[in-house]
Amino acid sequence: MTLPHAEKPNLPVLSVRNLSIRFGVSKPVLQEVFFDIHHGETLALVGESGSGKTLSCRAIIQLLPKAAEVVSGQVIYRGGDAECDLLKLAGKPLRRLRGGCVSMIFQEPMRSLSPLHTIGNQVGEMLALHSELSKPARRQKVLETLARVGLSDAERAYKSYPFEMSGGMRQRAMIAMAIITEPEILIADEPTTALDVTTQATVLGLLKDLQKETGMAIVLVTHDLGVVANMADKIAVMESGQIVESGPIAPVLSAPKHSYTRKLIAAAPVIPEAVACKPEAAEPDYILTMRNVCKSFSLRASKPWQKATTITAMKEINLAVTRGKTLAVVGESGSGKTTCGRIALGAMQPDEGGEVHYCPRSGEMVELQHLDKRQRCAFQQKAQMVFQDPYSTLNPRMRVREALFEPMEIHKIGTPAEREARACEILGWVGLKPDMLDRYPHAFSGGQRQRLSIARALMMKPEFLVCDEPTSALDVSVQEQVLALLRDLQARLGLSYLFISHDLAVVASIADSVAVMRAGVIVEQGPVDQLFRNPLHPYTKALIAAHPEPDVHRPMDLNAVAKGAGSAAGWPEEFRLTEGKLPPLVTAEGSHLVRRFG
């Protein structure tokens, strides 16, 4: 069902009034939520997880959890000449509204598409439900829409299954599905949170273009103020189920009135214009050096008579972590940065010829590529890992006490009393209380869990930590706290970090030097101040340009993103990575290296 986009500049197409929702008999989780949205406008609902932003937008199409109960409120929709309260719809009118007038895009494009049906089938289903088109006409329209959202080979995308596509392509398909019926309102629930920063930039650009063409209204749910600044016309900030501040985007972001808004803005990661120059030690003392490290995996063929294929995850990696400093490895998913971290921990062997040396504070240097059992045991005590997802890396059936004691038990260190004392001390360091030892992980918030992961890594008195995206599963405000904790621990204990991330803003706030990886090779590396002041490689430029800043006057530069983040074969001649012939890493200035010819 498509309604004519009537010109009614004065009346909002959607008004949410006094919406309150509760679960069971408890206190309402949404209290008197209100917002308006006009044609062609983007409203951003901003807040931390649990603030009720997702619940408010799902209430519009009555897609609430079963236990949720609408206590009061109205959702007035003005389509055509009619005006109705969407909360009162049921049965057929509700189904015509869903998808026909109001479409939705979800956060995880993989899990939000059925794995067993082709993209063409799933997108075409919208037309089957909401239009009278014949089958060939539907196919034609689906192909047109797939092309319109930037899937260059629409025929192929039509026949593909979601698992055959990359995350960005899946989210494009999801967008195609949402806009194919030309809805008046598009609800986008964290549409880019699961995507790489460069993919995020292009998907946001696409949404903006589509809005210009069709004049639809967008409700954008996000926790990222950078995304808001680049996309929205209006903003509504939510805290614990209430809207604490709302209004046009520029005044709210530049002069926030509510303390919570100010807190959110302060926490939003920013790529600084200039990073303070940190003096380099005259004679660098490296704790970890990787020399000429390559890693390839062989994929077993699906048929026994076919040859196994080899995939190169890393090529010619040379890295060094200075003692007491942080080296960040930055790149998109699939760039080889996680493999790099695993090799640095000795959890994976580099290919023949690569060398990984580790120099502990006291004692001899060890070669990680051939450790014997005793060396490995000693090394494991000195090098630990902090993982990305604090929700799945803590065993839900182990108390904090057991989780913290386990590494010491494995290495047979200390008596129970000593372990207890150590655990209490470390919990204090990471900002938790010793009386939390007997709790289970589910009793902790995401940020607290990440503190627990860090505490667990510290139990063995390590000197070297590999942090694999330690903040990317966290809310922005919590993210800043965890980074501050990591900096604090580094200063207090003299730890050295290998910090793996896809987010340049996070890296800017913690790293001393940075290596940017793409397609398994380092394309640019250097001290953090030089890299941000003078990025040379188009991919580094794209990463910086793609980072959404929480400032309406600094919009993303989509051109730079498109230039650098596209396929590596599309880079300017001097940077191009071709099979068998890599450009060399050349010195640009001091220890600032870039991979290019000439």
């Binding site: 939000s112 059925s114 794995p115």
Partner: protein, 342 residues
């Protein structure tokens, strides 16, 4: 095309498996010391029956029991020439049953097909009952529909099959005039197939199908319910609802498709489980299936009969697995195209 290649590959691996199974079966049956004939010859010698001994000696030579074991195996399968040239399983000679004093083919002949009939009927029963009930129980989880199907399911699981068989026989006969025992009325045994005979078989099939199928249906239903509940919490269900789909159609198109995988994968294991599980029931109900014959053959070391029946069950299992593999490949692109299984 890709599917055809996959099928050929599966068929090839199935043949190899069958070969390995035949070696295993033959070895295991011959593990206990002695064989049927030497036992018999000793007995005859003790009682001095020369005629019997001559016959037994003849059979011993005829079926190469005087040869070394590996040769016996080759002759049995038909890879090596016996006294009558190449004449083994591959050539359609199933061997001789010493216990029943008849060719194996004559003993198992009809019962073979009746066994397949009973078990295929039971499997169909399992699927026809479990599919709608499992889906219903999941879609209306924690409602009276869910609880009552669960109750019926647990009853089905907990009741011993033979007990259920006896109870059903009694009431079925008393109120519905269903026939008792056997798989056909006595006058049709050994007769050629006719319309009347078919009708009699179908009537007799009702209770065995129900008895053999209940336990399978109950566990299958619970499994489908659990799978469906998992799938119902996935985000793609929300996507489908947000598109404006009807709930019932959405259930059929998306979560059911995904939760069918384990359902189909079970076909392969269901067949042998039912055949071995239905031995007791067949004895109680007096069904002319292969089960009771297998029991006797194993007890008396009647090696050719036992080996043939075991091979037959193995073949059924492999066919079941082949069917489920092919169905899975057709149904799930992740298996067909070989994508990640997440």
């Amino acid at each position: 095309m890709r599917l055809l290649g996959y099928a050929a590959y599966k068929l090839l691996s199935m043949l190899v498996t069958l070969l390995v199974v035949s070696v295993l079966v033959f070895t295991i049956i011959n593990l206990p010391p002695g064989d049927y004939l030497s036992n018999q010859i000793m007995e005859l010698q003790a009682t001095g029956q020369q005629a019997g001994i001559a016959k037994a000696e003849f059979l011993r030579a005829e079926y190469s029991l005087d040869q070394p074991l590996w040769r016996q195996y080759l002759i049995w399968v038909g890879f090596a020439p016996g006294p009558n040239g190449f004449y083994g399983l591959l050539q359609g000679n199933f061997g001789w049953s010493f216990e029943f004093d008849q060719p194996v083919a004559d003993i198992v002949g009809e019962t073979l097909w009746l066994t397949v009939l009973v078990n295929v009927a039971a499997i169909l029963f399992v699927y026809v009952v479990a599919l709608p009930l499992g889906v219903l129980a999941a879609a209306r989880a924690r409602s009276w529909v869910d609880y009552s199907t669960a109750l019926v399911g647990y009853l089905g699981l907990a009741t011993p099959n033979f007990l259920l068989a006896l109870v059903l026989f009694y009431y079925g006969h008393k109120y519905l005039d269903l026939p008792i025992g056997g798989l056909m009325a006595p006058e049709f045994v050994g007769e050629a197939m006719s319309f009347e005979k078919l009708r009699s078989i179908l009537l007799h099939l009702i209770i065995p199908t129900f008895v053999v199928g209940t336990a399978g249906a109950a566990s299958m239903m619970q499994r489908l319910r659990a799978n469906m509940l998992d799938e119902l919490s996935k985000p793609y269900v929300e996507t489908a609802l947000a598109k404006g789909m009807r709930e019932r159609k959405m259930l059929m198109k998306y979560p059911l498709r995904v939760s069918l995988n384990p359902f189909i994968a079970d076909i392969g294991t269901l067949l042998p489980a039912m055949i071995s599980g239905s031995v007791l029931v067949s004895v109680v109900l007096g069904l002319q299936t292969i089960g009771p014959a297998l029991l006797t053959a194993l007890k008396t070391q009647d090696q050719f009969l036992a080996a043939f029946i075991l091979m037959f069950v193995a073949l059924l299992t492999l066919i079941g697995t082949l069917i489920s593999d092919m169905l899975l490949a057709m149904l799930d692109p992740r298996i067909r195209i070989g994508g990640p299984r997440k």
